[in-house]
Amino acid sequence: MIISVASGKGGTGKTLVATSLALSLKDNHKVMLLDCDVEEPNAHVFLKPAITGSEAVHIPVPRVDEAKCTRCGKCAEICAYNAIAVIGEHVLTFSQLCHGCGACSYLCPEKAISEEPREMGLVEWGQADGLNFAHGKLTVGEAMAPPIIKQVKQKADNGGTVIIDIPPGTSCPVVEAVKGSDFCLLVTEPTPFGLNDLALAVETMRELNIPCGIVLNRAGVGDDKVEEYCRKENLPILLTIPLDTGIARLYSKGIPLVEGMPEWKDSFRELFNKIKGTSR
């Protein structure tokens, strides 16, 4: 079973929930945590895994053999991303714009274009106290997160439970990270910002046909509009975590909630049972 932990709004507690859920289950289940927030991965800050392997993430970008090239311009004409251009006697490639679709090399009438790998990030994996772990890191200065997310997800164990920490937002990195999940936990907070972004995240999950449930974090501040929204939209609130300075302090030090306050383990196990009960 694949459970994603997403939110729309950043900083609502995705990583807190994902790490605590994984740590609460690991004694009795085969469980793996994948951190797919490859722009700002943080799960490792809490889990401190021993990294046992890593590999670079590449996308194939064009390399033009100027001796074979006739400057016909076909490649520039078909590239949807303006990543290749014919300027006078030269063909210029802009590899940062290239999505690696392969169209230019396939369609070049002179077979003058080959592909070479361009590194854009890294996937690392290992173990944290019996918990299998993998995450990805987008190289600073690179723009495209989805190829790294895709490669992190290839590290998922077969069988058992896979918990995925999803990046914030609702666009392509979120879609890449969340697709294929059996269930999505949406972590929110009881404020107008939390509600606005929760509604966007719910729409995204509905578009992707993934059942979801809510974790309400920092309960006790703000207003009750999130709860009202959940009732109206028939979304179950599966766990409520109060605003608590003790929890915030643990978080600030990078200590998982269920490690600093083990009494929370039962709540996360119960959360898991509720997910199993509500998902397809």
Partner: protein, 287 residues
């Protein structure tokens, strides 16, 4: 034109609350919400929308079932796994058009994609440029570029020389699009290990694109030891810490009321944000 973009790496550190307050403090400026995925600034500024424009960007492949001979070439060649059973999954399609070029019976056409909307609004603090990316859409970086370009246009029309932008979390495509060519990045962080880790990466992005950066430590008193570490780390890299805003529930209360915190309360948070703005304004004058 001076353009300040507020970033953080980690989400939820308080970018939008700070930008809302800067909107109330700064004069003669245009505001831009570059977090087009999950825009929240409008919830603090109560905009009235003056102009709404569709954002068409990118293309999605469509296979005509009447023409398709199910040869499977498109499925074999698509590197985004967007074609299954001779149908295109529009969410996975990256609009590269490869399939439309190679289909032997020309059954595949590309359709323009409505990926969102952008708005020019009036607020009591000045014009606001904002946008809404369609659900599960790509091209957020391009929509950010449109918001910034329109913000510059409005600023020029009104004779203003300052743009304050609320940026997205992360370090990827929409962040790079928010940052490139800006005069200054204000990085809002919090004294948590995650916040510090993420600050370091977004500082790296600023360095990569040669954008001067300044740091504001929000909720600095939730872990003062971490805050001191951030200060010394910034000092060692020549990055100025221009704001130290304490944690206070008054910020959440102001969000619930839908007004910038500096207008809601005159407590410590507001005073510190006022000092933050003075520091930024001085730096902008120096540049």
């Amino acid at each position: 034109m001076k353009e300040i973009v507020v970033l953080s790496g980690k989400g939820g550190t308080g970018k939008t609350s700070i930008v809302g307050s800067l909107a109330a403090l700064a004069e003669r400026k245009v505001l831009a919400d570059c977090d087009v995925d999950a825009a929240d600034l409008h919830l603090l500024l109560s905009p009235s929308v003056k102009e709404e424009t569709e954002f068409w960007s990118g293309q999605v492949a469509y296979i005509d079932p009447d023409k398709c001979t199910e040869c499977g070439l498109c499925q074999d060649l698509c590197r985004f796994d967007a074609i299954k059973d001779f149908r295109v999954d529009p969410v996975s399609c990256e609009g590269c058009c490869f399939c439309s070029h190679i289909c032997p019976v020309e059954a595949i056409t590309m359709k323009e994609n409505l990926s969102g909307h952008w708005f020019i609004s009036d607020t009591k603090y000045g014009p606001l440029l904002h946008a809404r990316l369609g659900i599960a859409q790509e091209n957020s970086g391009k929509l950010v570029a449109v918001v910034r370009q329109q913000a510059r246009k409005v600023a020029e029309e009104q004779g203003f020389d300052c743009i304050i932008s609320d940026g997205p979390p992360g370090i990827g495509c929409p962040v790079i699009s928010s940052l490139s060519g800006a005069s200054l990045a204000l990085l809002v962080t919090e004294p948590t290990l995650s916040g510090m880790h993420d600050l370091d990466r977004v500082l790296g992005v600023c360095r990569h694109f040669s954008i001067p950066a300044m740091v504001c430590i929000n909720k600095y008193d939730i872990n003062e030891e971490n805050s001191r570490q951030i200060e010394s780390h910034c000092l060692s890299q020549g990055i100025e810490v221009v704001g130290r805003v304490p944690f206070d529930n008054v910020v959440t209360e102001s969000i619930v009321k839908g007004i910038p915190v500096v207008e809601y309360s005159d407590g410590r948070v507001s005073h510190e944000i006022e000092k933050l703005w003075q520091n930024i304004a001085e730096r902008l004058d120096r540049n």
